[in-house]
């Protein structure tokens, strides 16, 4: 923020570094060269322009003189059709104008611009564009952007860095948006690092710090200042380095002061002082010291500030440095307010206000208004105090509103930038796509070539093959014989396979029988238990009967005889039960006779249901299921091979139990495994339905269940033949149908339909 004057003076302080110390001698040399070069050529134009340009920095020649030098250069260049010379001259004319006459400066620069473009001299073009940015109001941004674009295209980090620096100044001073300025400066920094010039890096770091201070982010500013000062230590001694160090230390003082670190601020200001060569910078730094003394309540604060004030009121400062003077007045005002000398406080704050109004900076004005209010309050002039307090608050609000507005603009700008970047990325992508397409075409071409080569190779090979054909024919005869042998082998393999299949079917039968065995054992055990026990107890009863007869207890004899009769009935009943089971087992294991006999489906279904249930219970004692039977009474007998039909039923029951058991293991709360078997007569058909509420069958699986060797059971548990055989038995063996209805997770129902 303190650097604007430099930039405005030089447009770009490109030459400032080289200038400063040597400029006097350089100017002398130039004058000398000019005198020895009276020829009216471009060299002379250049000399004239350089002189006009250099003088600006030292102020050793009057504005009028510079103006005349530039006019001479312009006229000569016009005669020579020297565009560069013309542009340079116009630029010099612009910089020697009074900057207050903005339109005039702008006109000169706009005259210089097309000339510079035609000359093709990019550095000059950048200088013109950069300066134009400051004299074109809001259009300045466009010029500034162009300067950046030209510098980037030129590939010069130094010029690019300065263009960013310039843009930051534009944002801060023309648009008054410190946030945008900060953004520009943050872009300046990496470019400065690319220059690999410590001076540029220190400069950029200092810029970033100042921009952060401008947006009140003091901790961040402090960080960059420390970084800049660290880097500055590596600089070789030079006037430029000295100048930079001075500024950095002064900024360090300012930053610390604003953060309330007064001791550090004092040290920084004191260290900055010996680096100041110009009277104005000396005053600025001393002003800082005065403020620190006052804030630290240092006894010498008053004397120091007064001394400063006195010097500032005399030439050459009397009509300059408004801001510095306003700030010194504020320091004095604060001192008197603190020491409760209300009259003096009012006097100095009024003075500060006056000075602040003369300067363009708003912060001193705000501080002055606040001080006025406080001073009047101390004087007990509350009406005045109130008025100033209101003005103070108003300005403060305006400033913070402005701050908000700046932030909003900054955000919008960033978004625009991002959008532009997006568009650029899109263009780049398009380019890449085109490149990709081109590459693909090349590949295609190459592939086509490769194919042609291959075809060529193939033709050659075919021709060769033709010659070999005769020999191949001979070979073919041999192969034919071999093929015959192989065919015989295949036929043999097929026969073997069929045998194996038959064995597998038998194995399936045995497997289902095996599952039955345990059930049969249990089923037989129970009736046998009764047979034995009733026989035993009957023997006892007979003994008792004899005793009772001997004793002549007729009543007891009758009762015992009744019991005996009942027992004989029980023995017979349980004996029948056992033999029926054994018969069933025998029937099942016996190879099917294939003879159809009238069969009671209800009995058959009931018998096998019990067998299957107990078979499973024998293996898994924890398993329980509800068995529901719904047999149609008076069902007509069906001509069927009962062993085969029994096998089908057994298979369906086993599957049903397996499914409910699987679902039970999933631990569903309140799940009651249920198997329902029902029979029904329909016209000329009989239907047996076996339903379970087990895991159900998924659609994908349902299509395959009747295929041989398909099983969902783990390896080794199922043969995959059960349903396949059942299907064959029902459809081929009995002319019936076997259908399935199922919903995954709900249950399955198999429906056997047999003709009567």
């Amino acid at each position: 923020m303190n650097r604007l004057h430099l930039l405005l003076l030089a447009g770009l302080w490109l030459l400032c570094q080289i200038a400063c110390a040597q400029s006097d001698s350089t100017t002398q040399q130039l004058w000398q060269q000019l005198r020895h070069h009276p020829q009216a050529d471009t060299s002379r134009v250049n000399l004239l322009n350089k002189l006009a340009d250099y003088d600006i920095h030292k102020g050793s020649i009057s504005f009028a003189r510079r103006d005349s030098l530039a006019v001479q250069a312009l006229q000569l260049a016009q005669r020579l059709d020297d565009f560069y010379g013309q542009a340079y001259a116009c630029y010099n004319l612009a910089t020697s104008s009074d900057y207050a006459l903005k339109k005039q400066v702008q006109a000169k620069l706009l005259q210089a611009l097309p000339l510079a473009e035609r000359s093709g001299n990019k550095p000059l073009l950048i200088r013109i564009l950069s300066l134009l940015a400051f004299f074109s109001e809001k259009q300045g941004l466009g010029y500034s952007q162009r300067a950046i674009a030209v510098a980037r295209a030129l590939g010069s980090p130094v010029l690019l860095k300065r263009s960013y620096q310039n843009q930051a100044d534009y944002f801060a001073n023309i648009e008054g948006n410190n946030y945008l300025a900060l953004q520009a400066t943050l872009q300046e920094l990496p470019v400065a690092q690319q220059t690999h010039m410590p001076v540029e890096e220190v400069d950029a770091l200092g810029d970033v710090a100042e921009r952060y201070m401008a947006v009140n982010d003091y901790p961040q500013a402090l960080l960059y200042l420390q970084q800049a000062l660290g880097k500055a230590k590596t600089l070789a001694p030079s006037p430029q380095a000295r100048y930079q160090k001075g500024w950095l230390l002064y900024d360090l003082g300012e930053c610390n002061l604003l953060m309330g670190h007064y001791a550090q601020a004092q040290v920084a200001y004191q260290r900055a002082l010996p680096f100041a060569d110009q009277a104005s910078t000396i005053m600025q730094r001393r002003r800082g010291l005065a403020d620190v003394y006052e804030r630290q309540r240092n006894p010498k604060a008053l004397a120091y500030a007064r001394q400063l004030m006195q010097e500032l009121q005399q030439p050459p400062y009397a009509e300059q440095l408004w801001r510095t003077r306003s700030q010194v007045c504020l320091t004095l005002g604060r001192y008197y307010l603190r020491t409760r000398q209300a009259d003096s406080a009012v006097y100095y704050s009024r003075y500060a206000l006056h000075m602040a109004q003369a300067s363009t900076a708003k912060e001193p004005l705000r501080d002055a208004l606040q001080l006025m209010a406080q001073a009047y309050a101390q004087q007990k002039d509350y009406a005045q105090a109130y008025a100033y307090q209101n003005r103070y608050l108003g300005l403060k609000d305006t400033l913070s509103n402005e701050q908000t507005a700046r932030q909003v603009t900054a955000i919008r700008f960033t978004q625009d930038l991002a959008r532009q970047k997006g568009q650029i990325a899109l263009l780049t992508r398009n380019q890449q796509l085109q490149a990709e397409a081109a590459r693909r075409q090349r590949l295609l071409l190459l592939a086509a070539l490769a194919v042609l080569t291959l075809i060529g190779g193939l033709v050659f090979v075919l021709a060769r093959n033709n010659r070999l054909k005769q020999r191949a024919n001979l070979l073919l005869e041999q192969q034919k014989a071999e093929l015959q042998v192989q065919r015989d082998q295949t036929t043999q393999a097929l026969t073997d396979l069929r045998a194996t299949q038959a064995q597998l079917i038998q194995k399936e039968k045995m497997a289902s029988l095996g599952e039955l065995t345990a059930g049969i054992a249990h089923e037989i055990q129970n009736p046998l238990n009764f047979v034995n026990n009733f026989a035993d107890v009957s023997a006892e009863l007979v003994a008792e009967l004899k005793e009772a007869q001997a004793a002549g207890d007729t009543e007891e004899v009758v009762a015992l005889a009744e019991d005996l009769g009942q027992n004989l009935g029980k023995i017979h009943q349980h004996g029948q039960r056992a033999s029926s089971i054994v018969r069933g087992m025998l029937e099942h294991s016996r190879a099917s006779t294939g003879e159809r006999q009238p069969t009671d489906l209800n009995t058959l279904a009931d018998e096998y249901l019990r067998l299957a249930y107990h078979g499973l219970r024998a293996k898994d004692k924890s398993f329980n299921a509800e068995l529901k039977t719904n047999f149609a009474p008076g069902l007509p007998l069906v001509e069927a091979v009962s062993q085969d039909l029994g096998r089908v039923l057994l298979n369906l029951f086993n599957n049903a139990f397996y499914a409910v058991q699987l679902r039970q293991k999933q631990g569903e709360p309140g799940y009651q495994p249920t198997i329902t078997v029902s029979t029904k007569q329909l016209n000329q058909q009989v239907q047996i339905r076996v339903a379970d509420n087990g895991t159900g069958i998924r659609d994908a699986v349902r299509e395959k269940i009747f295929q041989p060797f398909f099983t969902t059971k783990p390896t080794g548990e199922g043969t995959g033949l059960g349903l396949s055989l059942s299907y064959d038995i029902i459809t081929k063996g009995h002319g019936g149908t076997l259908a399935v209805e199922s919903e995954a997770g709900q249950g399955t129902e198999f429906i056997i339909t047999l003709p009567i």
Partner: protein, 132 residues
């Protein structure tokens, strides 16, 4: 001594009544019958203080004998408060796993079918003597 017999085979009743006719007549034993685990539990809820011994089959439709045993041991954990009946399990599958499972659940004895009534009778008598 009151004994509850639990078995799904209905004929068990006739068998027990004849086997223990003398003891029933003399009032030494009295038998009640339940034909499922659920029925047995219901009976116990009403007569727990009377029943001294439970003889239960393991393999029954619905609640199995082992489940019944678990319920009994949970509901009547024994002294000091509610009296706990003795439980003997009877099964056609006299394998070790069933036996261990029954013992773990707190069975007092484990008998296999066919039931040896002479042995059972002596067990009951010794139990009765012990009770007295």
């Amino acid at each position: 001594m009151k004994i509850l017999v639990v078995d799904d085979e209905v004929d068990v009743r006739v068998l027990f009544e004849q086997r223990f006719r003398r003891e029933i007549r003399s009032g030494e034993f009295s038998f009640s019958f339940a034909y499922s685990g659920e029925e047995a539990l219901n009976y116990l809820h009403e007569h727990v203080s009377e029943v001294v011994l439970i003889l239960s089959d393991i393999n029954m439709p619905g609640m199995s004998g082992l489940e019944l045993l678990r319920h009994i041991r949970e509901e009547y954990p024994g002294p000091p408060v509610p009296p706990t009946p003795q439980v003997m399990m009877i099964t056609a599958y006299g394998d070790d796993t069933s036996r261990q499972q029954a013992m773990q659940l707190g069975a007092n004895d484990f008998l296999t079918k066919p039931v040896d009534f002479a042995a059972l009778k002596s067990k009951l008598i010794s139990l009765e003597n012990h009770e007295n």
